[in-house]
């Protein structure tokens, strides 16, 4: 009897109002102690100061399709600098009437990247798709076949150039970096010391200096009449630079693999290449996914350094727009726009890496 009446009562009682619902959540998460309460209040104060002002500047007072002079009169954010100069910022010097070509090339690239990001599609046919896609993209950019007018590579600029430098820079640097890491672990002294010298030399100089050397000093060593494309020079410098960093990350992964794995592979009679390809590298590369992606992300952002050797990547086309007196002074808006583009690139890389880690998780 006693028991049942108690249970009846327990059923009728509601939890205290301060423990559930919005108030409960607030108490538990935002005001759980004096320190947290103070932090919450200070944060709210700053949000209240910043957010309405920002919304007012960015949306309410902003101009979206006017001239620079009208922007100055309006006072808010001048997104017109982006909308009015969008085609120059994105495509740079590519001939105005042919700018659909780099656009299509970029769409092909995005589709291929999207397909490649799904491991179910990692088959031979994807390789052929890439070959076909690369040919198509090259054709669209370069022209000169099938009635497309020929476009000098010096006119490649803006977003296509940034993507070209980063996508090909990173895909070429990754295998080179793995080779260097294996070379550094090699028992052959010549290869080992060569790799060490390479890695340490490249890591010892900033990327800017490599770019400078490739664009300013390198041409002076070439024989008469031979000039190497400026974009190619920058591309090679980026590949060499990134590879050295990837090499060290991969070496970290190789060292994390227990000796037992090496010995087990050898006892199965695998030779060096089989051992690396089938046993060691798959494990090592999986371990180092987070730092590798960190390097790839920073390399992607570092491509904007080609500004200093006069290549018109996304950043430089934006800066060029900003030095036009009609648009001077609206740098915040323009930089917010390209920051969003860079963010989209970096964020998709990092979220892909997290997905890959989850998929490859084997409980160790």
């Amino acid at each position: 009897m006693v028991d049942s009446s108690q249970s009846m009562q327990a059923e009728q009682l509601k939890p205290p109002i301060t423990r559930i619902g919005v108030i409960g959540w607030l108490r538990a998460n935002l005001f759980s102690s004096v320190f947290n309460s103070v932090l919450t209040i200070v944060t709210l104060y700053f949000l209240w100061k910043i957010v309405p002002a920002f919304v007012r500047w960015a949306f309410i007072d902003s101009s979206w399709d006017t001239t620079g002079a009208a922007c100055r009169a309006a006072g808010g954010a001048c997104w017109s600098i982006v909308t009015k100069n969008l085609r120059f910022i994105i495509f740079g010097f590519f001939p105005y009437e042919s700018q659909w070509r780099p656009l299509v090339a970029m769409i092909i690239l995005f589709i291929l990247l999207l397909l490649s990001s799904n491991r179910r599609f990692w088959k031979k046919s994807l390789g052929y798709a890439w070959l076909l896609g690369l040919f198509g993209m090259g054709l669209l950019l370069k022209g000169g076949l099938f009635g497309l007018s020929s476009v000098e590579s010096t006119k490649w600029s803006g977003l296509p150039l940034t993507l070209l430098l980063s996508v090909f820079g990173l895909t070429a640097a990754y295998p080179l970096g793995i080779a260097l890491a294996l070379g550094r672990q090699s028992r052959m002294p010549a290869i080992k010391s060569l790799c060490i010298v390479y890695i340490e030399t490249i890591r010892g100089v900033p990327l800017i200096s490599l770019l400078f050397m490739s664009s300013v000093m390198f041409p002076l060593f070439l024989p008469e009449g031979i000039t190497i494309n400026n974009i190619l020079r920058a591309q090679v410098a980026i590949i060499l630079f990134t590879a050295a960093y990837i090499a060290e990350v991969v070496r970290g992964g190789l060292q994390a693999i227990g000796r037992g794995q090496y010995e087990a592979a050898e006892s199965m009679g695998l030779n060096y290449y089989q051992k690396m390809r089938l046993i060691i590298l798959p494990q090592a590369l999986k371990i180092v996914i987070p730092p590798t992606v960190g390097i790839l992300i920073s390399a992607f952002k570092d491509t904007s350094l080609v500004v200093i050797i006069g290549l018109y990547d996304l950043l430089k086309t934006t800066q060029s727009t900003l030095s036009d007196p009609r648009w001077m002074g609206f740098s915040i808006e323009a930089y917010i726009f390209i920051a969003l583009i860079y963010f989209a690139g970096c964020f998709s890389m990092s979220s892909y890496s997290r997905r890959l880690e989850r998929e490859l998780y084997r409980g160790n």
Partner: protein, 340 residues
């Protein structure tokens, strides 16, 4: 910065070696064989060389390069522009990556000697000046003691200010800002008393001020900046072509020939006009060009007055007066040698 210095020194040494290898006459042949001119330009200076919103190059330096292409090919569009940074520009010329440098480059003694370059006729006389708010009530540059000065780093501009203040025994505080657009923002936000740059650039800065009438140029020019197209040592024929192309722009203005009336001027009785336009043949041939070279320049690009007004003149955002860049007979410095 130390690395840069090492780079520059190495480049200068290499430049001296390569400069001696150049041979006369080869540049024109190479340009003709290639089918287009390669011109080094700045890329970030409004009015001088900058792409417009369709990616088409515009500016005084760009038009100078187009005039050279018109003289050589009879087609001002047979040209490829290579945007270069301040550090790259001279090595690029030496490494023969470009045929001519039209990149607001100041003529100096060491650039001609140690760097092995030749400067053609000046296409713009610039000078470094100061922009100041009228509110400060400063009338002369002698009242600037203790001023904070907004300045771009790494150019002769910075050194010239230091020289100027030291020479006048005054103190100053630099506010160094890398980007041109940020520089003018800082100045108009009141972070410094003075903004210093080349006068042509100060005009652009003032044009974007919230209230342009509040700012004034001080009546002092602290440096001479004769800007001219540059070629390599060792090819005199090519130097002549570039040099006389600039002078042809000036001469056309002096003779009253412009892109609108040049076809009528072919029938002009004046022997100076006839020689200039190639009606009386000889001048073009002696340069190694077609006798209609000057006609093509004026027809396709215009005379100096036309390109000045179109790019930096009163009706542009820069709004520069002709000033020292006017013709000699109007009190300016522009003077073409006789075409005969």
């Amino acid at each position: 910065m130390k690395f840069l210095k090492v780079c520059v020194v190495t480049v200068v040494v290499l430049v001296l070696v390569t400069a001696s290898l150049a041979m006369a006459g080869e540049t024109l042949d190479a340009v003709k064989k290639r089918g287009y001119l390669i011109a080094g330009v700045n890329g970030g200076v409004f009015g001088f060389s900058m792409p417009d919103d369709k990616g088409v190059w515009k500016g005084l330096d760009v038009d100078t390069a187009r005039a050279i292409a018109a003289a050589v090919f009879g087609d001002a569009d047979k040209i490829k522009y290579v945007p270069l940074t301040a550090v790259q520009r001279l090595p690029a010329l030496q490494a023969k990556e470009i045929d001519v440098l039209c990149r607001n480059t100041t003529q100096t003694l060491t650039r001609e000697t140690a760097n092995g370059l030749n400067f053609a006729h000046v296409n713009f006389y610039d000078g470094q000046g100061f922009l100041v708010s009228k509110k400060l009530g400063i009338k002369s540059a002698k009242e600037l003691d203790g001023a904070t000065v907004c300045v771009l780093p790494g150019t002769t501009t910075e050194l010239n200010v230091a020289d100027f203040f030291r020479a006048n025994n005054m103190k100053w505080k630099p506010v160094v800002i890398e980007q041109t657009a940020e520089l003018s923002k800082a100045f108009f936000a009141g972070r410094c008393d003075l903004l210093t740059s080349d006068i042509s650039q100060l005009a652009a800065h003032r044009a974007v001020a919230p209230n342009p009438a509040e700012y004034t140029l001080l009546p002092v020019v602290i440096s001479k900046e004769p800007l001219a197209p540059v070629v390599r040592h060792g090819d005199d024929q090519w130097y002549d072509i570039v040099n006389w192309t600039v002078m042809a722009l000036l001469q056309a203005e002096e003779l009253g020939i412009n892109s609108k009336n040049v076809h009528l001027k072919l029938k002009d009785e004046n022997p100076r006009v006839q020689r200039f336009l190639g009606v009386i043949p000889g001048l073009g041939k002696s340069l190694g060009l077609d006798d209609k070279w000057a006609y093509n320049i004026v027809k396709q690009v215009g005379n100096y007055s036309e390109i000045f007004e179109a790019n930096v003149g009163q009706n542009t955002a820069l709004g520069l007066p002709r000033g020292v860049n006017d013709q000699w007979y109007k009190g300016g410095l522009m003077y073409a040698a006789p075409f005969r």
